[in-house]
C-alpha cells in the first residue's frame, strides 16, 4: 500500500469528521427552532403555569442556546450523551439496546438483500433483454414501487394472520433465544429486503452493462470465455465502485430509514425511539439520535469512497 492512497483515505476521514461537526451544529439549530416547548409537551393538555415553570427550571431550559450547545458537544466528546428530559434516563444506555436492535435487523436484511440483489443483477446481465432479465426487473421494481407499509401489512396478513407462520409483531428483548429472535425479525427483514432490492439490483445491472460495452469485453468474448466468466473476471471487478456506492446507500437506509417498518412490526429500534422523543420535544435524545444517524451515514459513505479508491487500479498502482 503506498502513500497516495493512505493520504486519500486520511483526507476522506478528516472530511467526514468535519462534516459530522457541521451536522452537529445543524442538528442543534434544528432542534432549537422546533415549535413548542419541552415542558409543555411533557405535561400535555393538563399543564398548569405553575407545573410548567417547575419543570422548565428542573430541565435547565433557561440557559442561553450557545451555552447549551457547548455543554452538549463537550459531553458527547467525553462519551456522555446526557439524560433524557422526559424520563430522566441515561441516553447512552437507553440507546445502546435500541441501536443494537436496529443494527441486528439491518444486518440480517443486508445479509439477505445484498447477495440476492447482486446475484440477480448478474443474472439479469447474463440474460439481458431476455425473459429472465425482464422478470427479475419487473418483480424487483414492483416490490420497490409498493410503499413499505403496504408490503408490511401484506406480509402480516398472509404470514401472521392467515397462515400464522411468523409473528406479526416483532418485539425482541434481551435474553431472547437466537432462533426466536430470528423468527421475530423474519417479516420486517423480508419487508426491508423487498424495499431495497430493486435499487441495488438495477444499479448492479446498469454498472456491469456499462462495462460490457468496452472493447476488452469483446476481446474476452473473442477469446472464447463463457458469458459468466466474462462477467465474473472482467466486467464485475470494474463495476465494483458504483455497486459498492449503491450498496452503502441502501445499508444506510436500512439503519436510518426504517421508522415505518419499525412501527408496523412494533420493532424496538432507533426509529421508533426517535419519533417518540421528537413528539415529546426531548431535545437531548433527538440530538443524540440525529448525530448517531449522521455518523452512520457519513461512515458508510466514507467506506464506499475508500472501496471505490481501492477498486481503482490506477490509484492502487501509481506510476
Amino acid at each position: 500500500m503506498s502513500s497516495p492512497i493512505l493520504k486519500l483515505i486520511a483526507q476522506r476521514i478528516a472530511l467526514g469528521l468535519l462534516l459530522l461537526f457541521a451536522v452537529s451544529v445543524l442538528i442543534f439549530v434544528g432542534t432549537q427552532i422546533l415549535p413548542g416547548d419541552v415542558a409543555q409537551s411533557i405535561l400535555g393538555q393538563s399543564a398548569t403555569a405553575e407545573s410548567l415553570a417547575n419543570l422548565r427550571e428542573a430541565l435547565g431550559l433557561n440557559d442561553p442556546a450557545y451555552i447549551r450547545y457547548f455543554k452538549w458537544l463537550g459531553g458527547i466528546l467525553t462519551g456522555n450523551l446526557g439524560t433524557a428530559l422526559s424520563s430522566g434516563q441515561d441516553i447512552a444506555s437507553a440507546i445502546g439496546g435500541r441501536l443494537w436492535n436496529t443494527l441486528f435487523l439491518a444486518f440480517w436484511a443486508a445479509v439477505v438483500s445484498v447477495p440476492l440483489a447482486i446475484g440477480l443483477g448478474l443474472l439479469a446481465v447474463r440474460y439481458r433483454n431476455g425473459f429472465v432479465d425482464k422478470l427479475i426487473s419487473g418483480l424487483a421494481l414492483a416490490s420497490t414501487s409498493l410503499p413499505e407499509f403496504f408490503i408490511g401489512y401484506l406480509l402480516v396478513y398472509f404470514f401472521a394472520v392467515q397462515w400464522q407462520i411468523f409473528p406479526g409483531i416483532s418485539t425482541v428483548y434481551d435474553g431472547m433465544p437466537f432462533l426466536e429472535r430470528m423468527k421475530a425479525i423474519a417479516l420486517p427483514a423480508t419487508a426491508l429486503t423487498l424495499v431495497v432490492l430493486a435499487h441495488m439490483m438495477r444499479m448492479t445491472r446498469a454498472a456491469i452493462l456499462n462495462v460490457m460495452q468496452s472493447a476488452y469485453i469483446e476481446t474476452a468474448e473473442l477469446k472464447g470465455l463463457s458469458p459468466f466468466e466474462i462477467i465474473r473476471k472482467h466486467a464485475f471487478p470494474n463495476a465494483i465502485a458504483p455497486v459498492v456506492n449503491v450498496v452503502m446507500l441502501n445499508l444506510a437506509y436500512l439503519i436510518v430509514g426504517v421508522v415505518v417498518v419499525e412501527v408496523i412490526f412494533v420493532y424496538p429500534g432507533m426509529g421508533q425511539y426517535l419519533v417518540d422523543h421528537v413528539a415529546k420535544r426531548d431535545v437531548p435524545v433527538v440530538q443524540a439520535v440525529g448525530l448517531i444517524f449522521a455518523a452512520v451515514y457519513i461512515t458508510l459513505n466514507i467506506i464506499a469512497d475508500i472501496a471505490a479508491i481501492l477498486a481503482n487500479p490506477r490509484l492502487r498502482h501509481p506510476k
Partner: protein, 529 residues
C-alpha cells in the same frame, strides 16, 4: 332437557367431556350451536377462574420516554400496568361505588371537612415491608407538594393538613368535599413505600403483580406476587405481559394471530370487521370521555348567549354519532357529565338538532359573516371530519362556519384553551364535582370555555359539601341546566372505550370508569383451559 345440557356443559368445563362431543349431544337435543356455545362459556365462568399461564395485552399509548413513577402516568400503557403492580386506597367499582382496598374504612365528620381512613393491617409491599399509615401520608404528600410534577396535584389541592393517628390517617380539607373518597381512587395515587420519595420509579407497591420487565415503549412484564393481600381474588394468571403496539392495524393483527390475548382502542371504523374474526369479542363500554366544541364565553362573538344557543342547536348529534363514532357512543347534551357519573341528574331534556330554531337565535344574536372553528387530528380521532360535518349542519341553519385545520404539533399549547372556538377532548373525572371544578368554575386553570359565573361557582361549591344524596342529585340537576343553556360547551357525543379480547379469555367485566375493565383486565381475566 336443559338439566341434561347443563350437566353436560359442567362436564366439559371440568374437562371430562370434549367440546365437540358436547356440541354433538346438544344438537341431538335440538339446541342450536350458538346457544350451546353460550352455555359452555357460562359453565366455564361458573367453574371459576383458571389459575396460571401468561396473559398478554397489546396496548396503544406507550412511548419509549415513559417512566414507572405513577405521578407522571398519563398514557394508557402506564395506566394499565400501574393497575397490575400498584395498590390504591380505594378503587372504583363498575357500578360507580367505591371498594375499600388499602383503606379498610373511610369516614367523615358531619361537615365533610375532616376525613378519616383506617389503614388495613398486614398488607405487604413487594419489597417485603408492611404498608403503614405513614406510607399513605407520604404518598399523598409527594403528590400534593406544590413543586410536584404529579398529575394528581390538582385534585389534592383541597388538602389542608394530614396526620397519622394510630392506624388511621386523618385528613383535614380547606373546604367541605363530600367526594373526597372518590378522589383517592385517582389512578396516580398508587401507594408506595415512603410515598415513593426515595425512588418513585422503583415500581414497588402492593398490587397483584410484581414488576419483572420494564422496557418503556416496548414491553412490560409482571409475575404474581405470592403475598398479595387479596390472595387469589384477582391476579389469576401467573404472569402478565403488556406489549406496546401503537399502530392500530398491528394491534388487531396481533390479536388475530394470537400473539396477544386482548387489545385496547379498536377504531370505530373497523369494529364491524374485527367482530367477524372467530374467537374475538368486542368489549365496548360507555365511558365519561367526551369530545367538546369549546366556545369562549367572554370573547366576541361567543359572548352572546343567543349565538351560543344557535351553535348548540345547529349541531346534528345523531348524524355526528353515526358518522364519526359509527354509533359507538352516546349523544351529548352540552354538559360535561353523563350517566356514568354517580348522582347524575337523569331527567334533563335531550337537546336536538333544530336548524329553524338555530336560525332564529342566530338572527337574534345579530352576528353576520363566518365563524372560525379550529380543529386538528390530535383533538380526537375524526376531529377534522367532525368539523366538516358541523359546517354542513350549520349551513342548514344559515350559519357559515370556516374551518381552520391546525397542525397537531403544538395544538395543546397554541390552540386549545387559547383560541375562542376549537375542538378538544376530555377524559372525564371520578365525580361530577371534579369535572365542573376542573374546567367550568371561574378559578379553574383549564376553563377552556371561559365560563366565569360567581353564582355558578357557588352552586358547585354548595353541592360539593352536601352529604345528603337526594338533595345533592337535585343540586347537580340545577348545575347541569345552567351549563346546558348558558355554557360555552357543545358536546356532540360521549365516546365508548372499545377493547377486544381474544380466544379463551374469560372473566371480562367492563368498567365505565376506564378502558380495559378499568385497567384491571390483566388482573381479573384468565385463559380458559
Amino acid at each position: 332437557m336443559s338439566n341434561e345440557l347443563e350437566y353436560l356443559s359442567r362436564r366439559v368445563a371440568a374437562g371430562k367431556l370434549n367440546r365437540r362431543d358436547f356440541l354433538g349431544r346438544a344438537a341431538a337435543l335440538g339446541v342450536s350451536a350458538a346457544f350451546a356455545n353460550t352455555l359452555l362459556a357460562g359453565a366455564a365462568k361458573a367453574e371459576g377462574p383458571v389459575k396460571g399461564g401468561v396473559l398478554k395485552a397489546g396496548l396503544q399509548g406507550g412511548e419509549s420516554s415513559n417512566v414507572l413513577d405513577p405521578a407522571l402516568n398519563l398514557s394508557q400503557v402506564n395506566f394499565n400496568f400501574g393497575k397490575c403492580w400498584g395498590e390504591m386506597l380505594v378503587e372504583l367499582n363498575p357500578d360507580g361505588t367505591l371498594e375499600n382496598r388499602i383503606a379498610e374504612s373511610v369516614g367523615s365528620s358531619d361537615d365533610a371537612k375532616t376525613w378519616t381512613m383506617k389503614i388495613r393491617k398486614g398488607i405487604e409491599f413487594h419489597n417485603g415491608k408492611t404498608v403503614s399509615p405513614q406510607d399513605v401520608v407520604a404518598t399523598l404528600e409527594r403528590h400534593s407538594d406544590a413543586k410536584s410534577k404529579s398529575a394528581a396535584l390538582g385534585i389534592l389541592q383541597g388538602i389542608d393538613k394530614m396526620a397519622v393517628n394510630g392506624d388511621e390517617v386523618v385528613i383535614t380539607l380547606k373546604d367541605p368535599n363530600a367526594d373526597f373518597p372518590y378522589l383517592m381512587a385517582d389512578y396516580h395515587l398508587v401507594i408506595q413505600p415512603n410515598g415513593g420519595k426515595d425512588d418513585p420509579n422503583a415500581g414497588i407497591s402492593a398490587g397483584p403483580y410484581k414488576v419483572t420487565v420494564n422496557e418503556p415503549g416496548v414491553r412490560y412484564g409482571g409475575e404474581k406476587f405470592a403475598n398479595y393481600w387479596q390472595g387469589d381474588k384477582i391476579g389469576h394468571a401467573a404472569q402478565v405481559e403488556i406489549i406496546v403496539i401503537n399502530d392500530a392495524t398491528a394491534r388487531t393483527a396481533a390479536l388475530q394471530g394470537g400473539q396477544v390475548n386482548m387489545i385496547n382502542r379498536v377504531e370505530p371504523k373497523i369494529v364491524d370487521l374485527v367482530k367477524r374474526v372467530p374467537g374475538v369479542t368486542i368489549q365496548a363500554v360507555s365511558g365519561k370521555g367526551f369530545y367538546p366544541f369549546n366556545m369562549f364565553c367572554d370573547t366576541a362573538p361567543f359572548d352572546s348567549n343567543d349565538l351560543r344557543m344557535a351553535l348548540k342547536l345547529a349541531m346534528d348529534r345523531d348524524e355526528m354519532l353515526e358518522k364519526i363514532l359509527r354509533g359507538y357512543g352516546k349523544v351529548g347534551n352540552d354538559i360535561p357529565v353523563n350517566e356514568a357519573y354517580p348522582l347524575f341528574p337523569t331527567d334533563l331534556e335531550q337537546r336536538k338538532f333544530d336548524p329553524e330554531k338555530a336560525a332564529e337565535f342566530y338572527k337574534k344574536s345579530g352576528h353576520s359573516g363566518s365563524i372560525l372553528l379550529r380543529t386538528s387530528d390530535v383533538a380526537f380521532p375524526g376531529a377534522v371530519d367532525a368539523a366538516q360535518l358541523y359546517q354542513q349542519s350549520c349551513a342548514k341553519a344559515g350559519i357559515k362556519i370556516e374551518i381552520k385545520r391546525e397542525p397537531g404539533d403544538g395544538y395543546w399549547s397554541e390552540v386549545w384553551n387559547k383560541q375562542p372556538f376549537s375542538l378538544s377532548y376530555w377524559g372525564g373525572r371520578p365525580t361530577q364535582d371534579q369535572m365542573y371544578s376542573t374546567a367550568y368554575i371561574s378559578s379553574a386553570d383549564w376553563n377552556d370555555t371561559r365560563f366565569k359565573r360567581p353564582e355558578f361557582d357557588k352552586m358547585v361549591l354548595a353541592a360539593r359539601g352536601e352529604l345528603e344524596q337526594d338533595k345533592r342529585k337535585k343540586m347537580y340537576g340545577d348545575i347541569a341546566m345552567v351549563m346546558r343553556d348558558e355554557g360555552g360547551l357543545i358536546v356532540p357525543f360521549f365516546n365508548q372505550y372499545i377493547d377486544a379480547s381474544g380466544k379463551g379469555v374469560e372473566g371480562w367485566v367492563s368498567n365505565p370508569a376506564q378502558e380495559m375493565c378499568g385497567g384491571y383486565a390483566l388482573s381479573i381475566c384468565w385463559l380458559a383451559a
